[in-house]
Subunit: 331 residues, 2 copies
Amino acid sequence: MRVVVDAMGGDHGLQVVVEGAVAAARDGRAVVLVGRESDITAELTKYSGVSGIEVIHASEVIEMHEHPASAVRQKKDSSIVAGLRLIKEGKANAFFSAGNSGAVMAGALFTLGRIEGVHRPAIGGVLPLLHGQVFLADIGANADCDPQNLLQFAQMGAAYMEHVFGLQRPRVGLISNGEEETKGNALVQGTLPLLKRSGLNFIGNVEGKDITRGAADVAVCDGFTGNVILKLAEGMQELILGLVREAIMSKPIYKIAGAILRPGLRAAGRRLDYAEYGGAPLIGVRGAVFIGHGRSNARAIANGIHAASRAAEGGLIQRLEGSLVAVGTGA
Amino acid sequence: MRVVVDAMGGDHGLQVVVEGAVAAARDGRAVVLVGRESDITAELTKYSGVSGIEVIHASEVIEMHEHPASAVRQKKDSSIVAGLRLIKEGKANAFFSAGNSGAVMAGALFTLGRIEGVHRPAIGGVLPLLHGQVFLADIGANADCDPQNLLQFAQMGAAYMEHVFGLQRPRVGLISNGEEETKGNALVQGTLPLLKRSGLNFIGNVEGKDITRGAADVAVCDGFTGNVILKLAEGMQELILGLVREAIMSKPIYKIAGAILRPGLRAAGRRLDYAEYGGAPLIGVRGAVFIGHGRSNARAIANGIHAASRAAEGGLIQRLEGSLVAVGTGA
């Protein structure tokens, strides 16, 4: 599996992307760094004895603030567009970028196209839990959705978890404002009958607390709700660890106990760290495309490359395509 | 201020409601317990020297699983409907129930009606933060909303925070999937121009992390999103404190440090405990009506009575009514 990495993407610049790529290559991944060749090569000279990294020149860069669709149309030699073209041409198997996520989405749609039958591709996100994880879709590609979109997110999400995480018949939940079938907004009310007839292992509506308790392996919602959930989860983590820190600092004896506990608390925090989970897959486009957090550090980049490489193994696209069984809206 | 308390509401039964009412009365609140008189009186005999509690008989009970609107229509002598009637008749100033929240909402609409000009009342919720708190509306009354609804939630939410928390020109945020003005679903896109022209202290779109960092005093969204947020916040709290607990149990030396830290961690956890924050106000009905968490313990009940009593002081309804300035949708 050859993984194309957008060398120009991410808030922390080229050095961090190259550092992550080197780490992944040392773990045996085949990496193609796409971007300004001279800058990448200069950066690579800092590391000795690295094999498995190829560099391909792309002269343009899509910045974080640029309008996705027009940037993708105008900058055909950007690292994002040129990198995705390598997938299209069969020269590589997977793509990872921590850059402008809208541009990656638009670029993937223009360059690779959708999987046959997909109405709207989604961004999937893995939310780590106390035991295991939950796959959320959509986490931001489609702010407004219809029931058919959510049905497809559920089908592709379940196929993804089977394929990449090896789960058998993953439990699928529909995110709602209450577990009862009478709850939900118009979208949820319209989606519920489709999921019940889908043949998926559908467990019904799930609330915020069901999600964090691991009730579902796949939880579906529109991209607005999913994005709010993901960012609130990050915010709550920051808030609660801040409270724990304040508690530790409030008394000298607590400070001592806190110093002893620090490595344990740090390990606990790492279990929720996005950097361990390697980016969010774009599900529904014709290729294994992963979007990393803009804030990605080198570990996050390396884990993103690993995730993209693993996902591309053994026919992910065929698997997703096969999951799209039509479900009628009628009785 | 006389606060009517639904003696029959809450998952933990009458004893817990009475215990909370006794605690509030001992702190100087005037409480009217409404429900099965003989049961309430029997329970009250357990406490000696309590003054400030009146008991009013209501023969019926609306159970948690009943359909709100039909239960309210049929059970006119339920503790919820009879209790709200006391507000309508001017015999008491505020109402608190930890019972069927849909029935409280429906009962308040039927019995008290809406504040002049309000399209849809909302449920407001206080989310405690590291420093201060944020008032979220709607957290569940209206799963689907239009921009005018959200405008009114913002206006009433700001007036509520001024009136009850004494904030000057509270900062109002619009919950979205990104801070940029181009982000948002159709509802957010339609609401943004209204809030910009509202004369409120509007700070723009806020994401999950902005909310937990305290960027806004009032954050508005539809009741579906608000409910998901509130329940996810509870779920994340449980998840992260579970991780901290696992970390402490993972090594003997951590267990010792954890035992020393326990009171501090417990105090930190209490800062996020819903029980400290006294229930969720129904904003937009003609009365100070508070809904408690079904799981309310006695402390939560007592704090709910305090919050309802404080809110009813000094003309809350007039204040909310005065906040409803019309904002045109045109340019």
